[in-house]
């Protein structure tokens, strides 16, 4: 059988902390999946076969044993269930 290589684009939250501050981020805009339409041709033309999303729900308390700073600065929080968004 011919071997096939699958390219997955990893958009897990762990790679995205702090990205909301970058120019062009969607901060303050509601989530609308129709906004994603424009990105679809880019992904498929770029030979991406799969979008991958790692996930977790707990707010980190690694800083000073408290979750306060994580909530304040958006570290590992907020995190939506992305299943309905990426599918």
């Amino acid at each position: 059988m011919k071997k096939k290589c699958i390219f997955a684009f990893d958009i897990s939250y762990t790679h995205l902390d702090g990205r909301w501050r970058m120019p062009g981020s969607w901060v303050g805009r509601p989530i609308r999946t129709r906004h994603l339409r424009g990105d679809r041709p880019h992904l498929e033309r770029g030979c991406i076969d799969m979008l991958f999303f790692g996930d977790g729900t707990g707010i980190p308390d690694t800083w000073g044993g408290s979750r306060d700073e994580a909530v304040r600065w958006g570290i590992g929080w907020p995190r939506h269930d992305m299943s309905p968004v990426i599918t």
Binding site: P30, T33, V71, R72, W73, W77, P84
Partner: protein, 130 residues
């Protein structure tokens, strides 16, 4: 369906007897965002032993207990949906400040369903409108 419609709502069913309220509350919050507030939750207790067998139980939880759990399940979901105030978030690009910690609350202790919270999601459109 939500991508090709703008008004119709979507009612989805989950059994409080077998699901965990944190998972369900988070999923419904996210679905509500994606659909711009068009999600409804039909919470059921399940009445068939065959349902219980799918979740690894030999018999279905007794009727009264199922409905006690459902009440608590709904309480927990509601509290989680309310756990972050809509105006708690600042998303300030300059300072990097995201949220006011004092307005993102943990959950009270309950009998069966212990959930610490807060829900790790932005308040959803239905909540903001209500």
């Amino acid at each position: 369906m939500s991508r090709v419609t703008s008004k119709i709502g979507f009612g989805l069913t989950y059994a409080s007897t077998f699901m965990h309220p944190f998972y369900v509350a988070r999923l419904f919050n996210s679905l509500d965002h994606v659909t711009n507030g068009r999600i409804a939750f039909n919470v059921i207790a399940s009445s068939r032993p065959a349902d219980a067998a799918n979740y690894g139980f030999d018999e279905l939880m007794e009727h009264g207990l199922r409905y006690d759990r459902m009440e608590e399940f709904i309480d927990v979901c509601r509290a989680l949906w309310d756990s972050a105030a809509p105006d708690a978030f600042s998303w300030d690009r300059e300072s990097g400040l995201v949220a006011d910690r004092r307005r993102c609350s943990d959950q009270p202790c309950r009998k069966v369903l212990q959930v610490r919270g807060p829900l790790n999601c932005m308040p959803s459109p239905s909540l903001i409108r209500s």
